[in-house]
Every structure is written in structure tokens, then in C-alpha cells.
Amino acid sequence: MADPDPASQSPASRTPQSKPALQLKSQKFREAREGDWRALNGALDRAERQGLGGFSIDELLNLPVLYRQAMSSLSMAMAISLDRNMVVYLQSLSARAYVYIYGPHSRLKDVPADFFGKAWPQSVRRLTTELWLAFAALMAGILIGWLLCAGDSSWYDVFVPASQADGRDLSASAQSLRETLGSGPKDTALSPFAVFLMTHNTQVSIMCFALGAIFGLPTLMLLIQNGISLGAMLWLFARKGLGFEFGAWLTIHGTTELFAIIIAGACGFHIGRRLMFPGEATRMASLSQAGRLTGTVMIGVALMLTVAGCLEGIGRQTITDSLVRIAVGAVMLVLWLAYFLMVGRKAKTDG
């Protein structure tokens, strides 16, 4: 072992004996900032337990300052310190503070205004092509259902199995069919059946959306299939001269519900399209863009289906006049269209 020259000896061995507190740079660094870290840690503990409600104004204003200090401490510590415990602590503290400060919770407060005023209608407008495609698929389904049943009535049993028909089968008389369009056997406004329909429809629309991930084909099939059973039923009622009444019965909630399902289908088509044709973005970036856009739209679809469920559960049971039913349905359709077409448009200043 050669005798090393004094300049390369460690600082510990060559510091003069007289100096009182002997500290490394990283220790001084830690001493100066440790209080702030512990304050941030305490604030985070409190916020995670009870939320920000109990914070005073000063504490609230201090939180982002402490967060930025911890962030800068971390980048500093990575450059000057080899105290692993401290670096690990700072990493975990910064990560905790980061997910808290940029977490989802604060979003929930300002979400409604932003969501209904801008995000939802704007996102829906970006799906125009897919919306037309989904609309066409549903209409094609209805047409197929009608025409096939009109050509050969035995198709009806295939499209609307007895388990789902609920008395609306080929042998039903006009009288019994008319009864199914009435105010329903139970007069309770929000019957369990209505709630079941509401949750079922939401499930179907989520399925319609998620299946878009398989290149959009199952979404297309689901839309056409739903259209076919609708068309078949329409044919059944029309055959007995009840087409108008059935249309009215369907319209009161159907304009909202079918609109929602068309939008869900459009979302499915959109992710399928962006999966297959990512365009200039990488496929991963394209997928996450599409996922976020359609996610926004789908939250709205769930709300639309709740509105449809209320119309179905309350409106259809209490309003029995066909003309009023059609009027309510038409008004809802106009409201939705006006909302999607007009709300959240920016004034064109950048053009």
C-alpha cells in the first residue's frame, strides 16, 4: 500500500482538529431542509386522512411551496448525496406529494362545469364520422329486422326469443299488445324493472364501447343486432295497426336511450379505428388519446342513460297519451342535438 499524497486523502482525515462541528456538504444540506420535508410529510398524512378541509389558508398556501422544495431537494440530493436512506425518503415523499397534488380529487370539484360546458360536447363533436356510422348500423338493423319479418313471420321468433318477448309474440292479439303499451301493471313510479333496464342498458353501452377494442367489429354486430330486434318488434305492432302507439311508447325515452347507445357505438368505432390506423402518432399515443376522448364521452353516455331510465320509469308510467309521449321524446331529441351541436364552441379568434 503506497503512501498517498495528502491532497487525495479523504476530507475526514485532513480537516484541522480545532474546527467544532465536522459535517459533510450533504449533511449540511439535509440539516437545512429536513424541517420542511417533515412539515410536508405531516401535511400529506393529514390531507390523506381527512382531506384539505381542516387546513388553514396559510397551510394551504404553504403546501405547493413545500412540494416544490421537496422536488428541488430531490434533484439536489441525487447530485450531491450518497445517503441512501435520505434519497429514498425524498423519492417517496416527492412521489406521494406529486400524486396528491396532481391526483384526481381536486378535479372532481371543478369537473361538472368543465365537463358539461366544454369537454363532453366537444368530445362528442369529434366523433362525427363514427356517429353517422353507428347511426347507419342501427338503422340498417331496424330495416333488416322489419323486412325479414315482413317476408317470413317465423323470423320474429328468432330475433325476439320468447324469454324476452314478455307476451309480445306472434300469437298476441291487438288487445294484449295494446296492454303492454299501457301504464304498466304496477303503478309505482320507479319500479325495480325500470332500474333493471337502466343498469342493463348502461352495461350494454359499456360493452358496446369496450368491444371496439377488437377492431370495432363486435360493436357493429351489437348495434345491428339491437336494431334487428327493434325492427322486428316494430313490425309486430305495425301489423296489428299499433305502429303509431308503439312508436310513441318507444319515443318518450328512446330518443335519449338510442342516442346514448349510438354514441357508445361511435366510441367503440373510434377506438377500433385509432387502433388500426394510428395516423402520425405512435400506436401507443394514438390509443391513449382515443381512450381519453371516448372515456369522457362514455361518462356522459352513462348520465344520458340515467336520464333515459328516469323517462322510462317515471315518464312512461305517468304519461299514457301517445301524442304527449311523442312530444316529450321529440323535445328531448332536440335538446340533446342542440346541446351537442352548440355548447362549448370556441369563438374563432385563431382563424
Binding site: 480537516t15 465536522l22 450531491i80 450518497l82 384526481p104 380529487h105 369537473v111 343498469t199 401507443m284 376522448l293
Partner: protein, 307 residues
């Protein structure tokens, strides 16, 4: 042999949270700081999913049993109460199937109970906020990834047809997708631009380097004796924090042999193993940190020594 070791070892700052062998997703925060997040392992994700599924499956069973045990006659005789109860059941089933994951992941912890137990949470991959839309999308995809293929597989198996096998292969393929990417992301994560990360809690302990008391002991080392790198310093720190006597003795003996340490002649002056190791730790850290300030770092003992 040494070469392969060298290639695998990283600087301390490369090992996220001091956990060697785990990969991290680096998120650039809006402040421009690069923050590493440990990717959740496949096992952790599977564990969290199983816990959540157990909750989702058991909750209705528990409620059903409670319904049977509780005086149900009055409930059934009263039609309004019965209707309300039915509505509650339908709403609950819907919540468990479609809303459970979304509800908890939109909350402040961004994690379902299963994820919380496994210390996981969901973050946005681009460093921005985790939006409700992203949470909706990543959980809506469960329909394609989990519920639908499993339902089809179940139906296909019962009917003994090839559709069941096809659905099972589909389910397995999508379920195992997290095994085939570094961040262990599933299909829903790609669609929503999210990742699931592991967030351990770390405590700030005391600083081990205490140059003053080392000086009082009179232990000094030459630069040639400080023959280790950052990797070994980290291990030494761990040994000193755990304070296991046999381990400290073994480590001290090994270091003494390597650096050619000569024990003092007077037996009363021979330092305890812990004191020796702490002194060596302080000296090594001071040595490495001083070089670090000049931008010269030594990964481990296989790196060339710093002058």
C-alpha cells in the same frame, strides 16, 4: 464474470427507492423534475385483482345471507319496502360489476381496496392529472379483458365446444399481457394512458455519518484504503442500519482484509466492529461525495478508483 456483474449493477440513483432489480417509469412532472415510479409487478397486480374480485363476489353473498337470516317476512309482506330493497339490490349488483373499480380509482387514493393493500396506485403516464375519463376507460376495458372472455369460456366449457377454448385463450392472452411489457401495463392501461405503480412508504432515519465522534476514536483511512464504490456504500449503510452483530463482524473482517487494516497494538484501542464500520462508512462517503461534486462517480469496486 466480473464483467457481467459490472453490467448489471447500477448507480444508487438508478435503483428506484433503493430497491434493486425493479424497473421504474420515469414521469416528468409539470415542474420538469424527473420522478421515478416503481412499476407494479405482475404478482402485485394479480394479487390486487384477486382481492378485489373476492370483495366483488363475496359482497352479494354476504348481503344475501343477511337477507335470509334477518326477519324477511315483514319485508316481503310490505310491497313498498320490498320494491325499494329490490332496487337497492339491482343497483348494488350494477355498482359491483361496473362501478366498483371506477369509484375507488376516482377517489383521492386512486386505488381500489385490493390495490391499497398491495401499496399500488394508478397514475397518468404523461405526468398530468389522472382524469375521470382515463379511469373510466381503463376500467371499461375490463369487459373485454376479463368479464366477457371468462363468461364465454365458462359457457363454452359447459357446452363442451371449441368456442370455450377460444375464449379461454383470448382471456389468457389478455390477462397475461402485463407479463410481456416492462411496465406491466394491461390493455386498459394502454387505452387510458395510465400505469399502475408501487408506492412504498419510506421513513427518514438519522444520518449515519458522524465525523466528530469518528475523529475522537482516531480512525483514519488513506484514499487507497477507501477502495469501494457507491454500490458497496449502499450495502454498508444497510448493514449499519440493521445492526446485526454477526453480520457487522463478517463485513468488518472482510473490509479489514481487503484494505490491509492494521489493528492497534494496545487491545484497549481496538475499535468495536460497529464503530469501525461507521468510521469507514463516513470516510468512504466523504471521499465519494467529494468526488461526486466534481462529477466523478464510482459505481462499484470494479470501476477504476477515483483519484
Amino acid at each position: 464474470m466480473a464483467e457481467t456483474h459490472k453490467a448489471r449493477r447500477d448507480l444508487m440513483s438508478d435503483a428506484p427507492y433503493g430497491e434493486y432489480g425493479r424497473t421504474a417509469t420515469e414521469i416528468v412532472t409539470p415542474e420538469g423534475v424527473v420522478l421515478p415510479f416503481i412499476n407494479a409487478s405482475f404478482g402485485e397486480r394479480l394479487g390486487a385483482l384477486i382481492i378485489d374480485l373476492i370483495i366483488v363476489v363475496l359482497a352479494p353473498i354476504v348481503i344475501f345471507i343477511a337477507w335470509v337470516i334477518l326477519p324477511g317476512d315483514q319485508m316481503n309482506s310490505d310491497t313498498t319496502a320490498s320494491a325499494i330493497f329490490q332496487i337497492a339490490i339491482i343497483a348494488l349488483m350494477f355498482f359491483l360489476r361496473s362501478g366498483y373499480f371506477m369509484f375507488f380509482e376516482m377517489g383521492p387514493k386512486a386505488a381500489t381496496p385490493g390495490k391499497r393493500l398491495m401499496k399500488l396506485r394508478v397514475i397518468a403516464h404523461d405526468g398530468g392529472r389522472l382524469t375521470p375519463a382515463a379511469v373510466f376507460t381503463r376500467n371499461a376495458m375490463r369487459e373485454v379483458e376479463l368479464y366477457l372472455p371468462l363468461t364465454l369460456a365458462g359457457a363454452g366449457m359447459a357446452a363442451q365446444n371449441s368456442l370455450g377454448w377460444l375464449a379461454l385463450i383470448w382471456a389468457l392472452g389478455v390477462l397475461l399481457l402485463p407479463l410481456f411489457n416492462r411496465q406491466h401495463a394491461r390493455l386498459g392501461d394502454y387505452f387510458a394512458g395510465t400505469r399502475v405503480v408501487h408506492m412504498p412508504r419510506a421513513k427518514l432515519s438519522y444520518d449515519l455519518a458522524d465525523l466528530d465522534s469518528d475523529r475522537r476514536l482516531g480512525l483514519t483511512f488513506t484514499a487507497a484504503q477507501l477502495a469501494y464504490g457507491e454500490m458497496e456504500l449502499g450495502v454498508l449503510e444497510q448493514v449499519l442500519r440493521e445492526r446485526k452483530v454477526p453480520v457487522m463482524k463478517a463485513v468488518a473482517d472482510k473490509i479489514k482484509a481487503r484494505i490491509g487494516w492494521q489493528e492497534p497494538k494496545n487491545p484497549a484501542d481496538v475499535p468495536r466492529d460497529e464503530d469501525f464500520l461507521r468510521a469507514y462508512y463516513s470516510a468512504l462517503r466523504a471521499h465519494l461525495e467529494a468526488r461526486m461534486l466534481l462529477g466523478r462517480r464510482r459505481k462499484d469496486k470494479h470501476d477504476p478508483a477515483l483519484s
